[in-house]
Structure formats: C-alpha cells, structure tokens
C-alpha cells in the first residue's frame, strides 16, 4: 500500500467495521438494508447509529427480516435509482444466492460488503472465503481487501465501477471476517469532500418512475436469453480497465493505492511467487521479507479482483517465475482445489507458458496460518521449481491425529 505521508496525522484507531461503515456513509447511500450475522454485525450497527444521529442525509435504513429480503429490498431500491448498500457474510450470503443472480441480470449496481466467513455445517463463525467464492458465477464484481484501510477504500472504488454505464453490475467488497472486521488499527476515515469529488451521484438510464413507466425484469425466451448473458460478460470485461482506473484515480485523490486488479510485491525477479487474496497476504509478505533478507527471490501476487478475473494481468505477473503457489481460503470439494488455484492454472494453460503451479487450501473456518506454515509452503514451491510437482493441490496443516 502506498500511504500518503500526510495521512499519518489523520489516522485514528478504529475497528475495521467502523472504518467500513464510515466509508459506506460518505458514499452517500440512499437505502441501506441490514440483517445481523457475525462477523458483519458491527458494520450495520455502526450505520444504524449514523442514521440515528442524522448523519446520512436522504437515506432510509431498513431492518429486514432476512438476508433474502435484505438483498431483495435493494433490488427494488436500486431499480428506483437509489444508491443501495448492505453488508453480510456466510449463511446470509448463501441465503441471498438466488437474488444475487437476479440483481446482476437486472444490471443493478448494488454494493455489499462481505465480511468473509466459513459456511456450515459444521457451523463456524470464523474467516475463510467459501461464502463469496461460492457466489463466483452470480455476475457480481468481487474484490478482496488486504487490510482495514483497503476494506474502507474499496467502497467508493467499487461503487464507481459498478455504476459506470459500461458496467452496471452489482459488486461485493470482501474483507476477512474478524481478522479485518474486528481488528483495531490506525486508519484514515474517508473524507466526505474527497469522496464527493471521487464518486459522482448515481445516474441510471432507466428507473421505476410513473413519468416514464418502464417494465423491469421481463421474461426472456431462448431467442434473447443468450444475449443477456453475453451482455453481462461484456460488462464484466468492461469492468477490468475500470477497476484499474478507479484504483488509480482513488490514489490521486486520496493518496492511497492498494493495487488495481492485482498488486505485485517483489515479483519482478521472483523465482517463486505466492498468490492469494485477502488478509493472509500480510503474513505472506512478512515471511517473504525474511526470505528476501536472505537473498532468496520470492515474490507475492495479490489478487484484488476475483471477478472479473484478471487473466492478462496474472499471466504477465507470473510468467517468468520458476514456480507459483496459490493459497486459497476455499475449496471445491470433489476437485480438491481452491478457486484461485484452478482459475490461475486455467488462464495459464493456453499461454504456452508451462510453469509449475501448485495450490494449498488454507485457513478453513478460521484455522490460523502461522508464518512457519507459509515458510513450509514456500519451501515446497522451491522444490517444485527445481524438481517438479509431486502434489498438485493439498490442505495445509491437517491434524492427522484427529482423523
């Protein structure tokens, strides 16, 4: 992250959730829907306090009776032309599944913070990415933040991309539950004036309005359905450069840059590159710093945008490495691979760049990933670089004694 030196004076120590709620506030939402679920609760609680204190003008806050209705209400509000926001995680996000497809198909730029958490059974409230990764094909933008500051900064960026006329897709700004949502760290709370400069008012082409009574959500037969899907894909592709541009413009206005679609850390000359998303990157970078101090060429590739998937950027970033290891906090059961791993392999396949890529599924249900384990992974990747793959994808730190 590039930090503006002037920011140091502006930093306050707040909970990650507060930083995000505050960021949502300065984005001037018109409708917020809320339903409690750990570890997202503090975000909607903080927002309800802003509302109670009259700090969010022209905004309605709806305490819905389920996540299904939380997102459904925003389908209605967004169609009226309201900037619409919610936050959820885990079981709540899964309950929204059907509506997620709907919001995207209707091209409604709703934004949600997802405080990523494992899904049951067994029920578990701690962090992994199974919830949002399981929504991969719903047609939502999906960005992952590394730290609380980025979790907050991501909101105006994703609103801007989602509401872009060439995009018009809903988006998830993902942050690791507890690890980022509940940590107290110094952050800069987003300035209202800068946010107003960065994020213009939402100006939709069509809205529900008796003065121009259009119909939304029609039935499409086989002769048109395919074109609707095609248009969604086109919008996702259009979002690729817009995510880069938004991150860059954000950097110019606020003085902070967390990467665009991806963020490269010491990858230029790296022989081994570790790829991942979210807060684990902090630990990985710390370990990599130790390797670098010993003169070992290890680099880190942070993937910020999981959807749209930045194939070109990833190819370019890893193509010269001798081995790549991908860490996923999710698993496709039955494939024994995490999604980022599978997709990274798939995007390299036709690029005639046959570097070995291995994967680990890590941190399930909040399992700690200590530095030693990251080091172990890097050691394995080094072995792969010299003598090839033995195990393509595996769990990290399974407790054999419990099995």
């Amino acid at each position: 992250m590039t930090v503006n030196v002037a920011d140091k004076d502006k930093m306050v120590v707040v909970e990650g959730s507060y930083a995000v709620a505050h960021a949502a506030k300065v984005c001037r939402p018109n409708v917020i829907s809320a339903y409690p679920i750990t570890p997202q609760t503090h975000i909607v609680e903080d927002l309800s306090q802003f509302i109670a204190d009259g700090e969010i003008p022209n905004c309605e806050y709806i305490n819905v009776e389920s996540e299904f209705s939380a997102i459904s209400a925003l389908v209605g509000s967004s169609a009226v032309g309201a900037r619409s926001y919610s936050a959820t995680t885990s079981q709540g996000l899964l309950l929204m599944h059907e509506v997620l497809f709907n919001a995207s198909g209707m091209r409604l730029p709703i934004i949600m913070t997802v405080a990523n958490r494992a899904v049951g059974a067994p029920i578990n409230i701690w962090n992994d990415h199974q919830d949002s990764i399981s929504q991969r094909d719903t047609g939502w933008l999906q960005l992952h933040a590394e730290d609380p500051q980025e979790s907050a900064d991501m909101l105006p960026q994703i609103f801007k991309v989602a509401e872009d006329k060439d995009v018009l897709l809903p988006g998830m700004a993902c942050m690791d539950g507890f690890i980022l949502s509940h940590v107290y760290e110094p952050v800069v709370l987003l300035e209202q004036d800068l946010t107003d400069e960065f994020l213009p008012a939402y100006d939709p082409e069509y809205v529900l309005d008796p003065a121009n009574p259009m119909s939304f959500g029609a039935f499409a037969a086989p002769d048109t359905y395919e074109e609707f899907r095609f248009m969604q894909e086109k919008a996702m592709q259009a979002a690729l450069p817009k995510i880069e541009a938004a991150a860059k413009e954000f950097g110019e206005i606020y003085g902070r840059f967390h990467g665009g679609l991806i963020d490269e850390y010491l990858t230029d000359d790296a022989e081994v590159i570790v790829m991942s998303m979210g807060s684990i990157l902090g630990t990985v970078k710390d370990v990599v710093d130790e390797y670098r101090a010993r003169g070992e060429k290890i680099g880190v590739l942070k993937v910020r945008s999981f959807r749209p998937f930045p194939k070109e950027q990833i190819r370019k970033a890893i193509k010269d490495a001798a081995a790549v290891v991908v860490l996923d906090k999710n698993i496709s059961i039955g494939l024994n691979e995490g999604a980022l791993f599978t997709e990274t392999k798939s995007c390299m396949y036709n690029s005639r760049c046959d570097i070995p890529i291995i994967g680990y599924t890590i941190g399930h249900g909040g399992r700690d990933v200590p530095r030693e384990s990251v080091a172990k992974i890097i050691e394995e990747a080094k072995k792969v670089a010299s003598s090839g793959i033995t195990v393509e994808s595996q769990f990290l730190d399974v407790k054999e004694e419990l099995l």
Binding site: V99, P213, S215
Partner: protein, 296 residues
C-alpha cells in the same frame, strides 16, 4: 348508462388464456390505483403472460424480481422513493399469486407489513400454482384436485382447508385488510383505491377463478367468482384496524354443490363413493363463514 369504467393501465396483447382471471385482477387493480403507481409483481402467471421480452402489457412502472420476494422488493421501492424525495403521490403496489403470497413469499410479505411500509399488497388467489401447471398451494381449497393433490383410491384430493391469509395480515396490525373477488369489479376497484389511500401496509385478497386450472369454460370466469361468493365459500369483507367493518351480505346462499359441480377440480366428489359426505364438509365451511362473518 351507468358511470363509466375507470381507466385501466394494462394493455391487450398479453398472453393470458382466454378468460384469464389474473388479467382481470390486474385490470381492476390498476383501475383502483390509477397511473401514479409502481407495481411489484413476483413470478407467476400474471408476470409471465404480461412481460415476454421485449414486450410489456403494463402502462405503469413495473418490476418483477423473483417468486418469493415481492414484499421485500416493494419495501425497497418505497424506501427508495422516500429517500429520494419522490414518494409523494406515488402508490407502491405488490401483486402476487396465492403461491407467491401465502407460501413461498410469506416471510418477505410479513417483514414488509411488520415494518409498516406504505404499500398495498394484492393477492390474486386462483387457488393453486397455475404457472407451473396447477399444483397445490396453501390457497387450494379442501378436496380440490390439482396436479399434486389428485384424488385416488384413498384420497379425495387436497386434504387441507385454505389458509386464512387475511387473518394473518390482520394479525400484523395492518390498518386495512379486505377480501374481494374479480366477480365484483366495482368492489375490487373501490377496495384497492381505499387501500392505497390508507397510510401504511394494506392487504387485499382477491378471489380469482382460473378457467384453465379449475376446469371450466373461459366465458364463466366472472360467473364462477360470483358463485363462490353466493355460496358463501368466499366471504367478502373489510377489516379496519383489526375490526370487521363491512361484510357483503348474501341473502339466499346457494348450496355449495352448485359451485362444485361447475368445476372439473371437484368432479371426483360427484363420482366417488363417499363424495356426498365430502360435499357436506364443504357445505359446513360455507355455513361456518355465514356464522362467523355474519353473511346473512
């Protein structure tokens, strides 16, 4: 000449069956709301037949999202209008079938009513899941045959009575709950209009006989709706703030048999052994209605 019909905001060219009950319900509903209306319409016959892309039969702004979220989408529409300062004079209307209202969408509707959004919700009750081919819902009446409650060697069809949905909405503290029927257009138009003029969440339950689903000729849609009322199987009343304030009296109730005999979905009651006992049970329901709502 009687007073002219109010203007409606539904266009012809829709794909409803000849004599469609849902089309009539929507037509009357829009006569009651007028043009300054936003309609939220969950999945079902009405939605499908009126909006085959790129066409729409609706002349008021309309949105369909899913089958089970009508209440929530309407909540969001209302909240957005308020937040954007555009609510003044605009009526937010939900309209869904018995399946989307009473079964799969009841949570969402319950939430919307509990929260007190200023919306009117109209249930178009054709007593089954018509759009998917006449399956049983909780609005299907006792002993009716549907494709998932067929009569058989040990069954007379649907084993349960209709769910009393209006009572559930009254229990939400709704200021205005009314039952009506497409057999009485003026009644329906009047009640919808009244519902939209009342601040807060109002509920209209409209009985809507479906020729295709119930098995009668498309010319009899209105006639069948009237028969349901005339046999006291469908009581028409208004409840304001929990009090019964108006009831449509039925001077000389017709025997339920007249209503049942006219529909294929009850045909088995006239051919199976023990059918007459079943008809007595249905008559008992009508008698109970007469007593409970004071229909006579």
């Amino acid at each position: 000449m009687s007073k002219p019909a109010p203007k409606t905001y539904l266009a012809p060219g829709h794909r409803g069956c000849a004599g469609c009950c849902d089309a009539l319900a929507a037509k009357f509903m829009l006569m009651g709301t007028g043009p300054n209306t936003i309609v939220v319409n969950p999945t079902g016959c009405l939605e499908v037949m009126t909006t085959p892309f790129p066409e729409s039969a609706w002349k008021v702004p309309w949105i369909h999202s899913l089958f089970e979220n009508g209440g929530a989408v309407a909540s969001g529409v209302e909240a957005a209008l308020k937040a954007l300062g555009r609510k003044e004079g605009i009526k937010v209307i939900g309209v869904g079938g018995d399946g989307s209202t009473m079964d799969i969408g009841i949570r969402s509707l319950s939430g919307a009513f509990e929260r007190g959004h200023d919306i009117t919700y109209v249930c178009v009750d054709n007593e089954a899941y018509m759009n998917t081919g006449i399956q049983r819902s909780s609005g299907t009446p006792f002993d009716a045959s549907t494709t998932t409650s067929p009569p058989g060697k040990i069954s007379f069809g649907n084993p349960r009575p209709k769910k009393n949905m209006p009572a559930i909405m009254v229990a939400h503290g709704s200021p205005y709950v009314a039952t009506t029927s497409i057999g009485y257009p003026r009644d329906m138009i009047k009640k919808v209009k009244k519902a939209t003029e009342i601040e807060g969440p109002a509920y209209i339950h409209a009985h809507a006989p479906c020729p295709t689903g119930w098995g009668f000729d498309g010319s009899k849609t209105i006639e069948m709706a009237k028969l349901a009322v005339e046999t006291c199987l469908w009581p028409m009343y208004e409840m304001e703030n929990g009090e019964l304030t108006q009831v449509k009296k039925v001077k000389n109730p017709k025997p339920v048999e007249e209503y049942l005999r006219a529909q294929k979905r009850f045909k088995h009651l006239f051919t199976m052994d023990g059918g007459d006992e079943e008809i007595k049970k249905i008559q008992a329901t009508a008698d109970w209605n007469i007593e409970f709502y004071g229909l006579q």
